[in-house]
C-alpha cells in the first residue's frame, strides 16, 4: 500500500488501486471484437432504417417519391412529416440550455445540407438504403449562406455553455495605445467535424409505452430525460444501454435528431428498428466545431510584460439555433495582463447547429492565442518559453482568484528539459537537419478548466466480502471501465478483483455527463462517496459490536484496508468485512454517494489543469511539406487515477492538436452548402505515419481544493497547446507565419 506523504488523505486511507497503471478492464473484449456496441444489437424482428438527407442547404422539400420507395422489395414504411408519430413537445423548443433544437421531420423546411428529410424502413439494410435513393427528392431551393463573410455579425447573448460573450478587466484600448510594442494578427480556423470512429446508431424497441434503446451516449440521464419529454412518457419507461462508445468527443453528449428518428421509426412500424448513420451523414445533424476568425491584439511594456490582451472572435451558429464557440475564453486564464478584453461575435449560417467538440473554445482559441504570444515573443526578441514565463499568471488573470493548484512551471521545466529546448536558436530558419530539411521548434501552453458536474453512485458490500459499485458512467474509449473501477475498489478498500463495477446503463444512478473532462472527477467522487458510506456503516457496526476487536474504537477511529477494518491507533486489531456482516446478520450493506462541485471552493479558487507542449517539425524548403517529428507534452492535472489511461488521453489530445494544426477542415461548397470532403478518405486526420514520436510527461500535482481526491480532467487538454506549438514550430522552421489553419503546403511555398 502506498503510504507517501504526497498522497491525499482519503487515498492513504483506502487506496491501493488508484495510481496503478492497469491495462483496460475491457481490453480483451475490445481486441477480440466481442465488446457489444449499440449497432451490434439485433433483437428479433429487427427492421433497418436509413435516413434520407437533404442535398440542399436552404429551402423546402417539394416532393418525395414515397410510392417508388414503398414499391421497392423489402421496404416496409417510409417516414416523412406526413406520418411521423406525434411528439409531446415541439422539437424546436429549447426546454433547457442543453436541449438543442432537433430535426425530426417536423415540417418540410430545410435548414442545412445533410438534414434528415425522410426515413426508409425495410427488412434489410440494402433495401432501406436503396429506398432512400428512390425517394428522388425535389427541392425548392434558396441561396444559402455558409461562410463567415456572409451574414450580419451580432453579439450572442452567451457563448459555449453559458459564458458571457464579452468580458473585460482594465482598459485594453488604453493599455494597447500606451504599450511599448504591440502585435495584431488575425487567425482563421475552419469548421471541423467530430468523426468518431463509431457512427451514431440506435436500436430502438418499444413494448407498449416502454422503450429500450441501445445507443451511444455521453450522458445517459440527459438523453433519457430528453427522449421522455419529446415522447411524453415517463423517463423511467426508457431504458438506455450504452456500455461502450466508439468515441464521442461531444457529438454524443446530447441525444441527436437521428437517434430520435430511430425511436420514432420503431414507433411507426411497431417493430424494433436499427438506424445507423452513414459516414457522410455525420457531417450535418450531429454537430461540428464552428469556424472562427480570431483577431488578437497584444501589448507589452519595454520589458516584455504583457499590458493588454484583446481577443476578438467571429464565429457562426446555425440560422435556427444557438451554439457559439467560446474561443476567446483561453485569454482569461493563461497569461498575466492588467488589461484583458474578450469579445465574441457571430453570424447565422445555413449549417447544422455547431456543438461541443473536444476542447470546445479552448482548442480554437488556444491555437490563435499561442500563435499570437509567439509573435509577440519574437517582436520582443525573447525566447518564446522565456516570454511565457515572464508573463506567467500567478493568479487567474481575469478574476484575480488564486489557482487551486498550478504546476505549470514544472510542466515548462520538465517538458523543456526532455525536449532539449535550451539549444533553440531565437531566430527562425536557422536549423537544418543533415538532409537539408528546415527544422523548427515551437512551444504552446495547454490549459483546460477542472470541471465537476453532479453524479450519484451506489456501493454494496456483500457478506462474502465482495463489493458491487454502480453508476451510469460512460466509457468512450477513455478508460472509464478501468479508472472508475479503481476508484470503486479503493472506496471499498478492496482489491480490484473483489469489486464488480457496473456502468453504461440508465437504470444505474446518474453519473452525470462524460464531457468537459469532468467525468472521472464527477463519477469518481460519487463512487468514492458511496464506498466511504459503506465503510462508515460497517465501522459503526463493528465498533458497536462487543464481539469485534474494534469494539469501542470510536475515538481512535478505524481505517479500511484490504477487506478489513483496522483500529487506527493499533493496526494489529482488525476485523474482516465478512465477519462484521456475518455477526450483524446482514447479507449486504449498501452505501450511497453523490458528487458536485463545491461552491465555496469554486468561489475562492480558479481551477484548471495546465501543460506545456513542445513540438519539432521538419519542412521541405522547396515543396512546403511539413512533418511533425517530435512532440513532448508535460501536463499537470492533479491526482492521476491510472497513468496508463491518462497518458493515452494526452497522446490522443496531442495527436488531435497535430490534426488541428496541419490537417483538419471541412471543405464546404459555398454555393450549395454541402461538405465536399465528408468521409475519412478526404477529411484528413492523422495516420500512424504522421505521428513519429509523442511523449507525455505526467507532472506531479496535488490539488486540495478541486475535490477530495484531487482529480482534474485530462481528456481535452492535450489538444490545447499542441496545435499552437506545431504552428509555432512551422514558423520557426520557415520564417513564415501561417495564420489560416490548417497549415497547408501551398501556404509555405
Amino acid at each position: 500500500m502506498p503510504d507517501s506523504a504526497n498522497m491525499a488523505p482519503m487515498q492513504r486511507r483506502h487506496g491501493s488501486s488508484i495510481g496503478q497503471p492497469l491495462t483496460r478492464q475491457d481490453g480483451f473484449l475490445k481486441v477480440t471484437g466481442t465488446a457489444r456496441y449499440a449497432a451490434d444489437n439485433n433483437p428479433p424482428g429487427l427492421l433497418h432504417a436509413v435516413l434520407a438527407t437533404s442535398r440542399v442547404a436552404r429551402g423546402r422539400v417539394a416532393a418525395l417519391d414515397v410510392a417508388a420507395a414503398l414499391a421497392h422489395p423489402g421496404v416496409v414504411e417510409v417516414m416523412t412529416p406526413a406520418n411521423r408519430p406525434p411528439l409531446a413537445i415541439d422539437p424546436d423548443e429549447r426546454t433547457s440550455p442543453f436541449a438543442f433544437k432537433l430535426d425530426v421531420l417536423q415540417n418540410d423546411r430545410i435548414r442545412y445540407a445533410g438534414q434528415p428529410i425522410a426515413v426508409v424502413i425495410a427488412e434489410t439494410l440494402e433495401a432501406a438504403t436503396d429506398g432512400t435513393r428512390l425517394l428522388a427528392p425535389r427541392y425548392e431551393t434558396e441561396a444559402p449562406q455558409v461562410s463567415l463573410e456572409d451574414g450580419e455579425p451580432f453579439t450572442p447573448p452567451v457563448v459555449g455553455p453559458g459564458y458571457p460573450a464579452e468580458e473585460q478587466k482594465g482598459d485594453a484600448e488604453a493599455a494597447l495605445a500606451a504599450a511599448a510594442r504591440h502585435v495584431e494578427a488575425r487567425y482563421e480556423t475552419p469548421s471541423q467535424y467530430h468523426n468518431a470512429m463509431e457512427p451514431h446508431g440506435i436500436v430502438a424497441s418499444w413494448d407498449g409505452d416502454r422503450l429500450t434503446l441501445d445507443t451511444p451516449t455521453q450522458g445517459l440521464a440527459i438523453a433519457q430525460m430528453r427522449a421522455a419529454e419529446l415522447l411524453g412518457i415517463p423517463a423511467e419507461h426508457i431504458h438506455i444501454r450504452s456500455p461502450f462508445l466508439g468515441g464521442g468527443f461531444g457529438s454524443k453528449g446530447l441525444l441527436a435528431g437521428p437517434q430520435m428518428l430511430g425511436i420514432l421509426a420503431a414507433r411507426l412500424v411497431g417493430r424494433p428498428v436499427k438506424l445507423v448513420l452513414q459516414r457522410p451523414q455525420m457531417y450535418g445533424p450531429v454537430g461540428h466545431r464552428a469556424a472562427t476568425r480570431q483577431t488578437l491584439r497584444l501589448g507589452v511594456d519595454e520589458n516584455g510584460a504583457l499590458q493588454a490582451i484583446d481577443h476578438h472572435v467571429l464565429t457562426h451558429s446555425s440560422r435556427f439555433d444557438d451554439f457559439f464557440e467560446p474561443a476567446a475564453g483561453v485569454s482569461h486564464t493563461l497569461y498575466a495582463s492588467p488589461a484583458i478584453r474578450t469579445r465574441h461575435e457571430a453570424v447565422r449560417l445555413d449549417v447544422g447547429t455547431p456543438m461541443f467538440m473536444r476542447a470546445p473554445g479552448e482548442a480554437s482559441g488556444s491555437i490563435a492565442l499561442e500563435s499570437a504570444i509567439d509573435e509577440m515573443a519574437w517582436a520582443c526578441g525573447m525566447d518564446p518559453l522565456a516570454f511565457r514565463l515572464k508573463n506567467y499568471a500567478e493568479v487567474e488573470p481575469i478574476s484575480g482568484k488564486p489557482f487551486s493548484s498550478k504546476a505549470l512551471r514544472d510542466c515548462y521545466a520538465q517538458g523543456a528539459e526532455r525536449f532539449g529546448w535550451a539549444t533553440r536558436p531565437l531566430a527562425p530558419r536557422q536549423m537544418r537537419d543533415e538532409a537539408g530539411f528546415l527544422v523548427g521548434w515551437g512551444v504552446g501552453t495547454a490549459t483546460f478548466p477542472a470541471l465537476m458536474f453532479q453524479a450519484q453512485a451506489r456501493a454494496v458490500l456483500r457478506q462474502d466480502g465482495s463489493g458491487v459499485v454502480e453508476t451510469g458512467a460512460h466509457d468512450m474509449g477513455q478508460g472509464a471501465w478501468t479508472a472508475l473501477a479503481q476508484i470503486a475498489a479503493d472506496g471499498l478498500a478492496l482489491p480490484l478483483e473483489r469489486v464488480e463495477f457496473h456502468a453504461g446503463d440508465s437504470r444505474l444512478p446518474d453519473a452525470g455527463i462524460a464531457g468537459g473532462s469532468g467525468h472521472t472527477a464527477t463519477a469518481g467522487m460519487a463512487i468514492h462517496g458511496a464506498g466511504a458510506d459503506v465503510v462508515a456503516k460497517l465501522a459503526a457496526l463493528a465498533m458497536d459490536d462487543e464481539r469485534s476487536p474494534l469494539f469501542g474504537a470510536h475515538n481512535a477511529g478505524v481505517v479500511a484496508r484490504g477487506g478489513r477494518l483496522h483500529r487506527r491507533d493499533d493496526e494489529s486489531r482488525s476485523d474482516s468485512y465478512e465477519d462484521i456482516l456475518q455477526r450483524a446478520g446482514l447479507a449486504e450493506i449498501e452505501g450511497r454517494g453523490s458528487s458536485a462541485s463545491d461552491p465555496a471552493a469554486q468561489a475562492a479558487y480558479a481551477m484548471h489543469a495546465h501543460g506545456a507542449v513542445f513540438a519539432e517539425v521538419k519542412v521541405d524548403p522547396e515543396l512546403g511539406q511539413v512533418r511533425v517529428t517530435r512532440m513532448v507534452g508535460a501536463f499537470a492535472a492533479g491526482t492521476i487515477i491510472n497513468p496508463r489511461m491518462v497518458q493515452s488521453q494526452y497522446y490522443g489530445g496531442m495527436i488531435w492538436g497535430l490534426s488541428f494544426a496541419l490537417l483538419e477542415g471541412a471543405a464546404m461548397d459555398h454555393r450549395s452548402g454541402r461538405v465536399m470532403n465528408g468521409d475519412l478518405a478526404e477529411y484528413h486526420v492523422p495516420v500512424n505515419a504522421d505521428v513519429p514520436s509523442v511523449e507525455a510527461i505526467l507532472v506531479e500535482e496535488r490539488d486540495p481544493h478541486v475535490n477530495a481526491l484531487g482529480i482534474k480532467g485530462v481528456g481535452e487538454i492535450g489538444i490545447t497547446g499542441s496545435a499552437g506549438a506545431i504552428a509555432n514550430a512551422v514558423w520557426h522552421a520557415t520564417g513564415r507565419r501561417v495564420r489560416r489553419f490548417p497549415v497547408s503546403l501551398d501556404q509555405l511555398l
Binding site: T129, K618, D620, L623, Q625, R671
Partner: protein
C-alpha cells in the same frame, strides 16, 4: 445500393459476352467501384466479376523480352515482388505510395487503370458533373477545386486522374492489353486515358464491353532501374491522394543523360508524360539547372482551373526533385515512407 445482376464468368470469352450488355460493369478488387455504387455515383445493372478468370493473375516474361503483368495481379503482390521492384523501382514505389495497405491488398493492376477521378463533385450524385451525367455541367468549376487539374482540362471537366501507379507506368512506356468483342488490341498506357475535351464521360479508349487483360512493360523499361524514382506530395504522410507527383527515370552514359523519362501525376485527367522535357534532357549533364529547365517545359501551357494555381509551381518543383533523386541513384530498397520527400536529402548530391 441499387439491385444489380451478379455474374461470375469462367473465361474471358464468357466475360466479354456478359460485359457486352448495356449497363454492365466489370468487377475486380472493387475498391473503387463498390464505393461509387454505395454512394450512388455509379449504378450498374450488372456486375461481371472477373476475379475468377484464369491466367490473369500472373507476372511473366513477355514475348518481346519485357514483362507482362496480368490484370488481376494485386497491387501489393506486384509491389512486393523483389524481382519486379529491382527492375522497375519507380513503379513499385508508386504502388506503395498509393492508398493503404488494406486497399493495396485488394486492388488490382487492371482496376488501377480504370479507377475514376476523386473529384468530389463526381462522387456527389446531386452535383452537376459532365463525367457522371453528360451535359449537366461541372460544379467543380467555381467550387472546391484546390486540387484539380492545371493541364489538359476543359471547361467541361477539370478533374484529375488519381493513380500513382499509372504515372510511373506512363513514364516507362507501358502498354495496355485489351480484350473485346472485336478481338484483342493494345495501346500505349499514355494513350489509354483521354483528356476531357467535350466528352469527359469517356475516360479511356476502352470501347463498351472491352476488358483490360494485362499490362506490359517494354524491354527497355528495365534499363532505367539504376536511376528511377517516384515522388509524391500529399497532405498527410500516407493514405492520401497526390497534390502533385512525378515519376522520373534516367539512363546515364558517361555522366551524361542518354535517355530521360518524366511523367507528372495529379495535374491532369491522365498521367502527364512530358516528352518535350525528356528530349531536352538528352545529352545534358544531370543537375538542378537542366532539371529545372525540363520541369519548366513539362508545365508549359499549364493554367489554373480554379483555386489551384499553386500546383503549377509545385509540379515544377516536384518534377525537378524527382529528376534530381533519380540522378542520385535508385536506393537499395524502397524507402519506409515510399515516395515521400522526407525519405531523402533535400539537396540531393549527385551520384550519392
Amino acid at each position: 445500393m441499387k439491385p444489380f445482376e451478379y455474374l461470375r464468368p469462367g473465361s474471358i470469352a464468357e466475360a466479354l459476352a456478359a460485359g457486352a450488355a448495356p449497363g454492365a460493369a466489370y468487377l475486380a478488387g472493387g475498391t473503387n467501384l463498390l464505393d461509387l455504387m454505395k454512394g450512388g455515383a455509379s449504378l450498374p445493372d450488372r456486375l461481371v466479376d472477373i476475379t475468377r478468370l484464369p491466367g490473369l493473375d500472373r507476372v511473366e516474361p513477355a514475348a518481346d523480352g519485357g514483362l507482362r503483368i496480368g490484370a488481376l495481379v494485386r497491387n501489393a503482390t506486384l509491389a512486393h515482388d523483389p524481382g519486379f521492384a529491382r527492375a522497375y523501382p519507380a513503379v513499385a514505389e508508386a504502388l506503395l505510395s498509393g492508398a493503404s495497405a488494406q486497399l493495396r491488398n485488394a486492388a488490382t493492376v487492371g482496376g488501377n487503370l480504370v479507377q475514376r477521378t476523386r473529384c468530389a463533385y463526381f462522387y456527389d450524385p446531386t452535383s452537376a458533373c459532365n463525367k457522371r451525367r453528360p451535359g449537366s455541367g461541372c460544379d467543380a468549376r467555381g467550387g472546391e477545386n484546390r486540387l484539380h487539374a492545371v493541364l489538359g482540362w476543359s471547361e467541361h471537366c477539370i478533374a484529375t486522374h488519381p493513380s500513382d501507379f499509372c504515372v510511373a507506368l506512363a513514364a516507362l512506356g507501358a502498354v495496355v492489353e485489351i480484350a473485346g468483342p472485336a478481338g484483342p488490341r493494345e495501346v500505349l498506357l499514355e494513350d489509354f486515358h483521354r483528356l476531357p475535351g467535350d466528352a469527359p464521360e469517356r475516360e479511356t479508349v476502352l470501347e463498351p464491353g472491352e476488358l483490360v487483360t494485362a499490362l506490359r512493360l517494354p524491354p527497355d523499361a528495365a534499363g532505367f532501374a539504376a536511376h528511377a524514382r517516384y515522388i509524391k506530395l500529399r497532405e498527410r504522410t500516407s493514405y492520401a491522394f497526390a497534390v502533385v507527383s512525378a515519376a522520373a527515370a534516367l539512363r546515364l552514359e558517361g555522366g551524361v543523360i542518354a535517355e530521360a523519362r518524366l511523367a507528372l501525376g495529379a495535374v491532369a485527367l491522365k498521367p502527364w508524360r512530358a516528352h518535350g522535357a525528356e528530349r531536352l534532357l538528352v545529352g545534358r549533364t544531370p543537375g538542378p539547372e537542366a532539371f529545372r529547365q525540363a520541369a519548366e517545359l513539362a508545365l508549359e501551357g499549364a493554367t489554373p482551373s480554379g483555386d489551384n494555381g499553386f500546383k503549377i509551381e509545385l509540379a515544377r518543383r516536384i518534377a525537378t526533385r524527382a529528376l534530381l533523386l533519380a540522378a542520385a541513384g535508385t536506393p537499395e530498397r524502397v524507402p519506409a515512407l515510399p515516395a515521400s520527400p522526407f525519405s531523402h536529402p533535400v539537396g540531393v548530391p549527385l551520384h550519392a
